[in-house]
Symmetry: C2
Amino acid sequence: MPLVVHKYGGTSVGDAERIRNVARRIIAAKDAGDDVVVVVSAMGDTTDDLIKLAYQVTDTPSARELDVLLSTGELVASTLLAMALKGMGHEAISLSGAQAGIRTDSNHSKARIMAIDPARVKSELGAGRIVIVAGFQGIAQDSDVTTLGRGGSDTTAVALAVSLGARACERYTDVEGIYTADPRQVPEACKLKEISYDEMLELATYGSKVMHPRAVELGQIYGMPILVASSFNDNRGTLIHGGHMEIRNKVTAITADTDVAKITIVGVPDRPGIAAGIFGSLAKAGVSVDTIVQNASIQGITDLSFTVSKGDAGKALGVVEPLAQEIGARECVADTSLSKVSIIGTGMQNTPGYAATMFDTLFAGGINIQLITTSEIRITVIIAGEQAAEAVKALHKAFELEKE
Amino acid sequence: MPLVVHKYGGTSVGDAERIRNVARRIIAAKDAGDDVVVVVSAMGDTTDDLIKLAYQVTDTPSARELDVLLSTGELVASTLLAMALKGMGHEAISLSGAQAGIRTDSNHSKARIMAIDPARVKSELGAGRIVIVAGFQGIAQDSDVTTLGRGGSDTTAVALAVSLGARACERYTDVEGIYTADPRQVPEACKLKEISYDEMLELATYGSKVMHPRAVELGQIYGMPILVASSFNDNRGTLIHGGHMEIRNKVTAITADTDVAKITIVGVPDRPGIAAGIFGSLAKAGVSVDTIVQNASIQGITDLSFTVSKGDAGKALGVVEPLAQEIGARECVADTSLSKVSIIGTGMQNTPGYAATMFDTLFAGGINIQLITTSEIRITVIIAGEQAAEAVKALHKAFELEKE
């Protein structure tokens, strides 16, 4: 029988009535002729509440204990969903990450899936059962529970879909799909029928919160189609897949990320090894650096800028200020009120004109560009934070995305 | 190193501050020179809340799923306690029932412990860690989670203590120990320094809610001393043990149980097989029958009375009424406003006079006795429900328990 993996987010299983609603959707999929494996997140704010509880007990909760604690949220949701299905007369069973064979490394709070042993899931499917798997969790070699960190439940779902040879992974939340821009910012934004893995990865990495890049990447590596749709209606969602994107020749979506701080080291002597020293120290301090721009050197002196998340700005300054002094730079400047706006589209590859249209549009809107970075299918500008919404709107219009 | 098993009830770990309090108690025990294994119940009302949630989702929650759901309550408490201990600078680790090697049968919601594999607990103790075990749960042969039903966490604690060769099992709750009577009913009631397993079993079975008989029985079989004390102060508790009780010659405690209904089948023909038929049918219907009394037969006709919990009275009547008609009995009468009052004491064995004192005291107090049952170390009377408190007070005085 063909198999489909569903994944339901925390909002979709937020209370008893919503859990019954999800059960009805799963039954419909089963009745339509698929075997169904379901991955669930914890109900509503459960995970946040458990984290709060841990910090009430101690300022330094052990990562190993925190993982077991947080894993209970998904266990609760998965058992309730299995009960709902059985109460509606369908054979169903919940499995913990360990029981579902999700084997991970031992990096508590951010474990990576090493392998999936699908034996138990397959035998339950073979017995005619709908299988509900607690997302976000696995088991390490020492048989301790681990959690997968950000994007964890989506990753569980895609990995299970791959390992079981599912025809697709369908991810249901309170969002109807992937849009040409954030509909809260751009009312004219259109829902995309499909998007390529590459585009979705850029989108996820450059500000769209709809899906964590990790699960998309996994889908791309194994060619698993991922449907993003709402659990609250039957509207058609967005299919993330890899096929036949080359003939398109346009921008697919605009995205904005307002969690951007820029640090500039002014007057850096242009000597080999200096950048390596700075970014090596930042990495050691656990600061994740995003964009790096080094201006052309004038008389052996240059400016070095990089961006980090706002939360990391203080830590980053603490690392680079002594280094700047040491190497004889003039000063360090931090700007924590920036945003990153990107245009993304596979159709942009090897096609000129997109950058020009982007820059012209922003210029016409009086929006000053501070930094530019690009990939093959993305152009990103860093601008003042308060101009992000305005920039997204103007670009959405300029690239005629409302006609999608 | 000598080993002690502590067990903390739901009230003792009801919030973050109480969990830290428990952590301090455990550290004190460790500092005093013991290895410590701790069994915890779920925090406060967690278990009831989870059951409510299940019944919001479906009227007929699957027992298998309910067990996984409920087991999360103890996981949460055990991880938080381990975090608190680590936060205070002590090596600690939480283990699920499965990880602690608690192997049970597959009777979901009322599983029995079949065996304990203490390998993991021992290796963690060997590494110098305080081991926190989630109570009330185990793992069945098919590696599914089970729960142990009523008295489950106490049973986990005593069973672990036995399997690890602990010197004692210490059970901490919001109750200071075992009293000669319920202190809410009899202000003069005294806390006992010690009580025998036999007495404690009778006490637990005949109305004292302090401890479920199941764990006491396990303690008795393996000779494991059980200390019952409060987690909120350092007052001396009550030690349940087996030693040297024969020389005592007195009543140890008075207990009352107000959850008693009596059903009488009036005018039963005194023929062989009739009682067997009635109680066989009740057992099949899942009605647990407590006391049974059959009056002497007069002219081949007798009255048959038995008691059940109030909640089972309706079901019991539904079973016996058609049977009574079938066998030609006159009628069935139910009285749901009764209580059971017992005097308990190893010292009563083979010593006359206790029954007489009990009946005289009740007669003097104008309390009518409806049924009487006895064991070697217990005399129980069934009286009107509203006279229970009065009866306990009068008996407490008559047997001079306030001088304990």
